[in-house]
Each structure stands twice: as C-alpha cells, then as structure tokens.
Symmetry: C2
Subunit: 134 residues, 2 copies
Amino acid sequence: MAITKLRRNTPQRRVILEELCLLKSHPTAAELYAIVRKRLPRISLGTVYRNLEVLHEDGVIDKMEFAGAESRFDGNTELHYHVRCTECGRIEDIFPLDWEQTPAQPAELAGFQVTGYRLEYFGICPDCRIRLAH
Amino acid sequence: MAITKLRRNTPQRRVILEELCLLKSHPTAAELYAIVRKRLPRISLGTVYRNLEVLHEDGVIDKMEFAGAESRFDGNTELHYHVRCTECGRIEDIFPLDWEQTPAQPAELAGFQVTGYRLEYFGICPDCRIRLAH
DNA sequence: TTGACACCAGGAATGGTTCCTATTAATTTG
DNA sequence: CAAATTAATAGGAACCATTCCTGGTGTCAA
C-alpha cells in the first residue's frame, strides 16, 4: 500500500519543479508549460501534466482542481487556504490566523470514512473590483 | 444589476424541477435526462443542462461542481454540506450540527471581496469500504 | 395580428486533460 | 563498463462533460 513507485530524476521533472517553486503565483499547466519551454524547448504539454500529477501524488506540490476552470499548482505545501477570483481565476493564499477558520474534521460522516476536506473562498479580486466599477 | 430575466414556465422546465425534487439523491444532468425522458421523450440533453443552469441561477436548486467529475444537482436548497465518495462519486448530505463545522466567512481576504465559500468533505462511502476490503 | 424574444431539438464545437505509440534514456545488474 | 530493464518522453489523437450554434416554435403583450 505504501510502496512508492520508483521515480527517475529526469531533467524535465527537475526543471518543472524548479520553475514552479520560483513562482509565487499559482500557475496552470499551460502557463508553466510556457515558462519551462524557455529552458527545454522540446518538452511537450503532456509531460508537464504527467509530472505535475506525479509530484502531486508524492506530496511535493499542491494541486488545486476546480470545475469549469483549469487546475492550478502550488509549490508551497504548507497548510493554507485559497481565495479564488470568480472573474479572472486568480488565486491568493490565505494562511489561517485563528482556529475558527479551521473546520472540524470528523473521522466519520454519514457512514463515510472521511479522508479530508476542502475549504475554498471565492470572491472578486482587487483588480477586477476596479475593472467592474467602470 | 438585480434585473431578473423573464422566465417562461415551459413543460420541460417544470418536469425537470419536479423530477429533481422527487429524488433524494444528487443526480448528474445525464441521470436526470434519462428520468425526464420517460415523460418527455423528445427532450434534448442540452435543454436539461440549460434549465438546470437557469434554476440554479434563480436559486431554486443547488449545483455542485467538481473538477474531473460530472456536476450534480440538488432540489434541496436548505443550508447543508456534502460528503463525496472519491471512489464512486456518490454524495450524501451533511447537516451542520454544531458551530464548529461552520467556517468563519470574512467579508474581505487578501483584498478580495469575498462572496462565499465552499466546504466539502471527501472520503469513502460505506459500499466502497466493503468493496475495497475484498 | 404582429412583433419580440424566450425557448426548444438536434447536433457540432470546445477545450482541458488523458491516453496511445514508438522511441529515448535513467538506473540497476552482471 | 556493457547489457538489460523499464520509467519517461514527444507528438499527437482521443475523450467527454458541457456549451454553443442554427433554424424553428410557442407565448406574451400591445
């Protein structure tokens, strides 16, 4: 169960992780692909997706999935939440300051063995607030 | 801004809402399509999607969107959360029992005007727990 | 009656993501 | 070091829930 598959340390995987960790934003796979391509011009988008998935599986990076929007990735795995702009998709970090922001995580709900939860705020980012006010 | 578009009460929309409210499950658009088709054999899947969207816009039903999984719809708009099975996609209702389960909802975070949040638990449902235990 | 337009059925298009295939190359073993 | 093993790659096709398009219909108000 806890057997981790052998991972090969390929240049592609190394560069993808390096570039993601350099960023403070939360890029999509396509955005990261554009950045990585400057160093590895022949890399394919599929390789970026596969490695982001692998790095996420191994707990090295965070993956944020949203319905109807591209997934975004985060090199910072420290516990934190996110606010997502419903207008432009931009994401900012929220580091919990008080206990009230952390919901209880029961071990069992409705017979389910609960393995986790997801708390995400959404709203309108500063830029879009200005833009929408004409 | 608050101008609501005129809605026509078509048979299609009426039947879709009726059948959704009869269910205690949280069907996908395709599942509801199959049910509604028994009463309206010529209805199209696009019509089901459009009306579910309209009903959701008007606050008549709840829409649950997930990345990499079909959206599910709920005729019960009473405040509650959901547990989703990561194995089979099944969803059960969770009605908050104590205040600790309700996260603080700040009006502003990182400069964002916060319009809402989403708290969703995930885990393994009773059936899948049994199935996975061989 | 007539104009306006919300809505419909049917089907094509969309687009993020995954999958497929032949090839390459990282790692292990002898 | 050479050979064997097989994870990983590039490129592109496939997937599929959802949205969009088109031509036509039904309803309402004036």
